[in-house]
Each structure stands twice: as C-alpha cells, then as structure tokens.
Amino acid sequence: MTDHSMSTDRSSMPPKAQSRPWRRLRNIAAFFQGNLSASIGGGLMALVIVACLIGPWFTAHAPDERVARPHVEPNAEHLLGTTRQGRDVFSQLLHGGRASLSVAFIAGAISTVISILVGISAGYFGGRIDQWLNFAMNVVLVFPQLPLLIVLAAFLGQVGPVVIALLIGITSWPWGARVVRSQTMAIRQKEFILSAECMGENRLRIVLVEILPNLISIVAGSFVGVVMYALINEAGLEFLGLGDPTIVTWGTMLYWAQSSAALYTGGWWEMIVPAVTIALVGGAMALINMSIDQVSNPKLKTGPHIKRWRKLNRLIQAKRQGGTS
C-alpha cells in the first residue's frame, strides 16, 4: 500500500522514488542477514547455479562421450571418476545440472503463474467461481501426483526435459493456489481494498496493484517449494527410465548408474555423486523455503527472540518472588 501511495506522489518525493530499487535490494539483504539457514541455503544454491551456468564451458571432457576406461576411480584427471560407459562424471554433473535446474525452474514458473491466477480469482471473486475453483484444487490435491506423472509419462513414451517440466508445472499448482486463495480472502477484507473499490478502480488494477504486491512472500515461498518438488520428481521420473536417457541430466545419471548396476560393481561414485547433489540442492531450497515461511509467519520463529523473552520472564519471576518473601 505504501508503494502505491508513493508512486502517485512521485514528483513531491523524488529522492525516495529514486531509492526504491535500492530499498528492494536492502530488503533482500536484510532477509539473508543474521539468518543463518537462509544464508547457507542461498549461498549453496547460488554456487550450484553459477557452477552449472558457466562450468560446462570449462570442462575438459564432453559429458556424453567415452573418454576413459569404465569406472575409473576419482583422480586428478577425472575429479569424480567415470561411469560404466567411461564418461566423465564431473562433466556430466555440470552439464546435467543445467538441464535439471532448467526443468525445475520452468516447472516452478508455470505452476506459480497458474496458482496465482487460480488463487486470486477464487479468493477475490468468491461465490460460484470460488466454489468451482476450490473444488478443482481439492480434487487435484487429493490425487497422488507422482503415480499420475508416471502414468502420463509412460503413455507419452520417453519424455524429454521440456515435457517433464510442463507435466510437473501443470499438476503441481494447487498447493500454491490454496495459500494464495486464503491470503487473498484475508486481504480482501482490509480497508484499502474497500477504499480502492469505492474510488471506482477497475478490478484488474485492484488485483495487480493492491493485492498482488501483498502476496509476494507467499508466492515466493510456493515458487521455491515447487522448484524443489520439480527437481526431485524430475530425477525420480528419469531414474525410473521414463525420461529420455540420451539427454544428460541428474535424473538420467541416476538411471544409467542403476541400469549398469554401478553400486554392485564397485563404481559407487556414479550413483552417489548425482544422488547426493540432488539431496544437497533440495536441502538448500528447503532452507530458503523455511526462512521465507518464518518471515511470513512470525509465530514460528524461535531462537534469540524466545531466549530474550525467557530471560525477561525469569527476571520478572525472580523479582516477584523477591517481593513476596
């Protein structure tokens, strides 16, 4: 709401209007500052993204070519060893990360757009529209997603990363939509919406300018959630052999490791490297997600605040007891 009032009076307050992007940056910095889990998660995520973006240009070996004997142990030449097919695992990890992270982010974007559209429509318009959309949400929520994805992928036959991103994006929106809906319903009751309605602002403007900015933290949380979920499920689908095994991703790395029995034949690095990477990236995103959750729901916050409160409480108790005795 403050953003809105400021943008209308921009001429009267030029310095503040100029500093807006900086304020945004400072807000983001404040989110990470002093929040250890957010910093660890964000740092790890940034590291992985940068490595997968620029890393593939610097790798010495092609990810999909035989460059050495099968199952060479990790050494200076092949940092993470080679696969059963004699391919370089380190190079596969960086190249595969590009594909896997792209799928995750595309799926997250698709799902977030759908969840905003559905959630705001249901929450703002209410009535019949809300009933139908809510019903659709509940039905999709109650269906087990992964078996559904597996069967869809099976009918489509060895699907590529783009199709996987589409499938996950289309099936994973209800979680986000549900929180967006309930938050929209809460915001709808606030006075500034009523005043905007009384001023005769059109509905699209109310939704985009008045409501949407207040949903940012919730939308960000559900975006990170879906990206995490998509990364894990993409790997899962490809591990089962439902993806296109010729494209190098973290999921197909698992698939090849499983189908060449890497664990049994002693080439543990072929399996453990992608598995641990997926777990680490998932964990990093879980930390970011949790921190966003704590910011938007301060009740869940523990740590220093609770400690300070306890200390105060103890002091008061001690004083009281001192007073009575």
Binding site: F143, P144, L254, V276, G282
Partner: protein, 324 residues
C-alpha cells in the same frame, strides 16, 4: 452426519474423475494404444484372442458414451480383463497378490512415522529456546526435502550392500513356503526393515514439523492459560488440552502426507525389488501392459482416497464441533 456425507460424496466424485481420466488417457494420447498394447503381446496371442481382449478393454466400435459406461461398469465389477504382462492371469488377481505387500509396508511405515512425529513434535514445541530446538527446524526442513529415491539408494548402499545387515531384495526368502510359520514371518520382518526405515526417514521430519507448529500455536491460546490458572498438572494440560487441539492440523495434512508416502513407496519398492504395487507398475509400463498400468493407478488413487476418508472420520472423532 452431513459432514460425513459431503466428504464421502467428494471422494466418490474424485474417484469418478480418476476413472474418466483413465478412460480418456489412451484415447487422447498420440498413436494407437491398442496397437501398442498388442505389440507387447505379439506372438503370445492369436487374432481371435486379441479381438476378445479388445472388446474386454472397451475398445469396441460403439459410441464414446457407451464405451465409457462399459468402462465404469467394468471398474466397479472388478472385471478388468487379463494382464498382458502375466497372461492369462486376470488384472484383478495381479492386484490381489501385489497390494497386500504395499499395504503392509505403507501402513506400518506411515503409522510409525506419525506416532513418532507426534511425540517428537510435542517435545520440540515444549523445549523451544535451547540450542537443540533452534537447530531442529532447519534440520527437519533439510531431512524432509531428501528425495525418497536418494534416501532409498543410500540406505540400500550402506545397510544392504556395505554392512550387509539386512537383505536387499524380495519381501521374504524365496526358498521358504509362504504361510504363518515362525520362519516365514521372521523372514518377512527381516526383509521389511530397510524399506520401513526409508519410509520413516523420508516422512518423519514433516510430521514433527506439523505437530511442532500446531503445538506452538495452541500453547499461545487462552485455554492453556486458563488450564494453568486452574492449577491442572502439566501432563494433563499437555495430553487433554494442548495435544488434542494440536493434532487436528496433523490429521488434515495426512492428505498430502499419504500422496507423498505413496510416491516414496514406488521408489522404495523398486530399489529394494519389493513385490508391491509400485514395482509391478514399473514392470507393467516396461511391458506396455496398459490395462494393468491403469488398474494399478486406479488402485493407488482409491487407496489414497480411502486413507483421506479415514482421516476425515478421525477428525470428526477429535473435533466435537463438527458432530451435529
């Protein structure tokens, strides 16, 4: 009563939607599923048998709505025709000998995880403020984000392959005669340890966090202050006032939890080669046994819907406000 009826109707409609999805899937997909189906069975079946199967799966020449009604009827009568993968065994029979294993693992695993989660979540909510409690939420977040595939593979590698403490494949020693003999039951238990461990590891953190958050919310409410003011004992407050209210959001999240558990179960069964629904699903997909694939999907959906309905009944039992 109205609550139960409306919930039941919702699940019934959801199941009908699943059936319709199943019906439409082979008909809207590119390529002819009937051809794909019979390509998998080539050499095993002669043309007259193929026509019989074609009719049995509802790929008759009648109008769409008639095919649809036939399909719905065949689902509810359990007459789903023979499986291609295990021809000439009926699809329903295949479900009959795979489903009990899945039900056994998932039932035991999820209930263990929920009970442990409730206990640990309560403790975590009460012990806020010390170093463990402030470390706990990020730990739980990271643990619950561990993909089931990864956890299953790691457990398989460490406890199965490296330490060789537990068997890595099958639900029981194949050389034993199935039955209620002590030896067979012991073998089943021995084989179930690692899969169960994975189920609990994958889902425990989520239950602990749900319970902890719910508990924190309840502990801030007036009823707790009131109970403390009345001088009730801490255990009584914890069990009869706080837990009873805090457990409600946990029951609600069973819906999502079951979906995740089923997803995890598929990977667990494949990694440990366990003869359940998930393992059979992948085998059916690889054999292009679409009737079996669809039947398994319906079975999984029905299982999750029934689980949700049971959760709703539990909710009703815990929350007297709904009993009208």
């Amino acid at each position: 009563m109205r609550y139960i009826t409306s919930r039941f109707l919702f699940y019934f409609v959801a199941f009908l939607i699943a059936i319709s999805f199943n019906f439409l899937l082979p008909r809207i997909m590119p390529g002819d599923p009937v051809d794909a189906l019979f390509a998998g069975a080539a050499g095993q079946l002669d043309p007259s048998q193929m026509d019989a199967i074609r009719a049995m799966y509802g790929f008759s020449d009648g109008p769409m709505w008639l095919q649809y009604l036939q399909y719905v009827k065949s689902v509810f009568t359990g007459d789903l025709g023979p499986s291609v993968l295990m021809y000439p065994t009926d699809v329903t029979t295949v479900l009959g000998f795979t489903f009990p294993w899945t039900l056994f693992l998932i039932g035991l695993g999820v209930s263990t995880a929920i009970i442990l989660g409730l206990i640990l979540g309560t403790i975590a909510a009460y012990k806020r403020g010390n170093w463990f409690a402030s470390l706990f939420p990020p730990m739980a977040a990271v643990l619950s984000s561990m993909p089931a595939v990864v956890t299953a593979l790691l457990v398989f590698y460490i406890f199965g392959l490296k330490l060789q403490w537990f068997p890595m494949s099958y639900a029981a020693d194949p050389s034993l005669e199935p039955g209620w003999s002590a030896e067979y039951v012991g073998s089943v238990a021995h084989h179930a340890v690692l899969p169960l461990l994975v189920i609990v590891l994958v889902s425990l953190a989520q239950w602990v966090m749900t319970m902890r958050n719910a508990m924190i919310n309840v502990l801030g409410e007036d009823i707790i202050t009131m109970a403390e003011a009345k001088g009730l004992s801490q255990t009584r407050i914890m069990l009869r006032y706080a837990s009873r209210n805090a457990v409600l959001p946990v029951v609600t999240s069973v819906a999502m939890g079951l979906g995740f558990a089923v997803a995890g179960q598929i990977f667990i069964e494949i990694v440990f080669n366990y003869p359940g629904v998930g393992n059979t699903l992948l085998k059916a997909i690889n054999a292009r046994d679409y009737p079996l694939v669809q039947a398994l999907l319906l079975l999984i959906v029905a299982f999750v819907l029934i689980g949700n309905f049971i959760a709703d009944l539990t909710y009703l039992w815990l929350d007297p406000r709904l009993r009208k």
